[in-house]
């Protein structure tokens, strides 16, 4: 039972990440490969704030504020770039962030990572048990995903889809496209940071490898397999791929080679999705890739 709860918490965190990236890539057509960076900013900002003696609530506010400011800046810098160049630029930020985490050892503890991040206390109640943390995670991420869902259904969301489909046409109607792009990038990054705050306090240990370029690619895999632009699809895609290692264990794959098998299966799924189901496994058929 305890194991199932643990799995559910991790699954919820990654679903949050996948849904936020799905909105960015699938709805707005902004191809960022730096989502794990914002996940990491949230995690490290929370850990540093909590070690500095601040409460969890304050730490979350700090993490999200830092992410909003930095991601908005990054987005403004990358704005002039075309789609593929934007992806490469975001690659660059991902590498830069990893380097800062490793080289800034006096603050971030480098490759050793940060241990003993305390569990959050919410309204005077310490979330020590996993079940209470699960409920808290579900409530927090449920709210975040609801906000994202509302955004995609609103006028703002429709403008994002229009930017993705035909940016020049939208310029004709005098929309400030840059404003929309920066805003959605900052919002989705903030959701990723929120996931980071939960991850850091749940796992109680963070190191640069959890927020590397490989992790960003993994989150992108969750979205692609689930369905680009589909919130439901991304969440289901995340659930399926996160449960895959457990399924492999039941099939009898030895634990020593499980990581390699998982990688091969992820790869095959990505190739299959690209060739036969560009809309993803769980998205409605009429949705198309950005």
């Amino acid at each position: 039972m305890e194991y199932l709860i643990h799995l559910s918490i991790i699954l919820l965190i990654y679903s949050g990440l996948a849904v936020s990236l799905s909105v960015l890539v699938g709805k707005a057509g902004i191809f960022s490969v730096a989502h794990a960076t914002w996940f990491g900013v949230g995690a490290y900002a929370t850990a540093l704030s909590m070690f500095g003696g601040y409460s969890y609530g304050t730490s979350v506010v700090v993490a999200i504020s830092v992410t909003l400011v930095v991601s908005a800046f990054v987005s403004i810098v990358l704005l002039p770039l075309a789609k593929e160049q934007y992806a490469i630029g975001s690659f660059g930020y991902s590498v830069l962030f990893s380097t800062i985490l490793i080289q800034g050892a006096s603050v971030t503890h480098g490759t050793v990572g940060m241990f003993g991040i305390p569990r959050p206390t919410v309204f005077g109640f310490l979330l020590e048990s996993n079940i209470s943390f699960l409920v808290f995670t579900a409530v927090v991420l449920g709210s975040a995903v609801t906000i994202l869902w509302y955004i995609t259904r609103s006028h703002f969301g429709r403008v994002l889809c229009a930017i993705r489909d035909d940016e020049p046409a939208l310029k004709v109607f005098h929309y400030n496209i840059n404003h929309f792009k920066v805003l959605i990038y900052a919002i989705t990054s903030a959701v990723a940071a929120l996931c980071g705050t939960l991850y850091a306090t749940y796992v109680s240990f963070i190191d640069p490898s959890s927020f590397s370029l490989t992790e960003s690619i993994f989150i992108l895999t969750l979205v692609a397999v689930g369905g680009l632009g589909s919130l439901r699809g991304s969440a289901l895609g995340a659930a399926t791929l996160m449960l895959l290692p457990e399924m492999l264990r039941f099939v009898g794959v030895p634990s020593e080679s499980a990581a390699e098998w998982r990688m091969v299966i992820y790869g095959i799924l990505l190739v299959y999705v690209g060739l036969y189901r560009p809309q993803g496994f769980f998205a409605r058929p009429h949705l198309t890739a950005a």
Binding site: V95, G267, A289
Partner: protein
């Protein structure tokens, strides 16, 4: 003085490796028009095939030829069963990129299963030559010579043969090239083969000088992308200038800021370069 000589040798070796890497990437870019992460898979296949042959007791030329053969065959299989289908569906660059990530993941997984995730060293790197104050390894000399040969061949092919013209034609306007009688499938297959050869040479070169592991090709690919973007994607003859600039930045960053900041410095330069280019257009 000795440090300067060593740094010069290192720069020349880096230029040779990056030139080959960048030429291969440009061949793929010319025919695919997206950032093909599958190129990193070709580097892996080439380097690990070489390692497998070497471990089986093959001599250096035999291992290199075997690795080239396997790499080319794998590249052609990928082209036939993955990329041809992608193009037939008019897949977006984003979807193509996602598929290429999948290809790399599969190859990385298989390589990890066969050779473990530990770093492996290729034994030829143990011989050293001493010229005055400079010590140069056999593998460095080999990589530099191979880099020169590959660059000269690629430059000649690109500027003096009909294949080079056809590659440029496909890159500029595929429809027009088809109408003009260019055999698109043949040009693509040949380009893929050239890219596989470059990937293998670069992979072996890096492997001989440092070590190889299933993740090493990704950073090489990113370097190739940066170099190719410096003087324009698909521009094979200018690949060497990009490699020169990139190598100098890389070595300077190691000296000035420290080896840990190498990737961050080069990517910062890339971002600035991209912004400069987009501001110009």
């Amino acid at each position: 003085m000795e440090a300067l000589s060593t740094a010069t040798v290192q720069i020349v070796w880096t230029i040779a490796t990056y030139t080959v890497l960048s030429i291969g990437f440009n061949y793929l870019w010319s025919i695919n028009r997206f950032f093909d992460i599958g190129y990193a898979a070709q580097i892996l296949v080439g380097a690990y095939s070489f390692y497998a042959f070497e471990r089986a007791g093959a001599s250096l030329p035999v291992a290199a030829c075997g690795a080239l053969g396997i790499s080319v065959i794998c590249a052609l299989i990928l082209e036939r069963f993955v990329y041809v289908r992608l193009r037939a569906q008019y897949a977006s660059p984003l979807m193509s990129l996602i598929v290429s990530v999948g290809v790399l993941a599969v190859v990385q997984g298989v390589v990890s299963m066969l050779f473990t995730t530990q770093s492996q060293t290729l034994v030829v790197a143990e011989h050293y030559f001493r010229f005055s104050t400079v010590s140069v390894s056999y593998s460095q000399i080999l990589t530099i010579i191979l880099g020169c040969i590959v660059y000269m061949c690629a430059r000649y092919v690109s500027t003096h043969t009909s294949f080079g013209t056809q590659v440029r034609a496909v890159q500029d306007n595929e429809q027009l090239a088809r109408t003009s009688g260019v055999g698109i499938a043949r040009v693509r297959s040949l380009s893929v083969m050239c890219a596989a050869v470059c990937a293998t040479v670069a992979g072996i070169g890096v492997g001989l000088n440092t070590s190889i592991n299933p993740a090493f090709s990704m950073s090489l690919l990113l370097d190739a992308v940066v170099i190719s973007m410096i003087f324009g994607l698909g521009n094979i003859p200018r690949a060497i200038y990009g490699a020169m600039l990139f190598s100098c930045i890389e070595v300077a960053s190691v000296w000035v800021v420290g080896p840990g900041w190498k990737d961050a410095t080069t990517f910062s330069v890339l971002i600035m370069l991209l912004l400069y280019r987009s501001a110009k257009t």
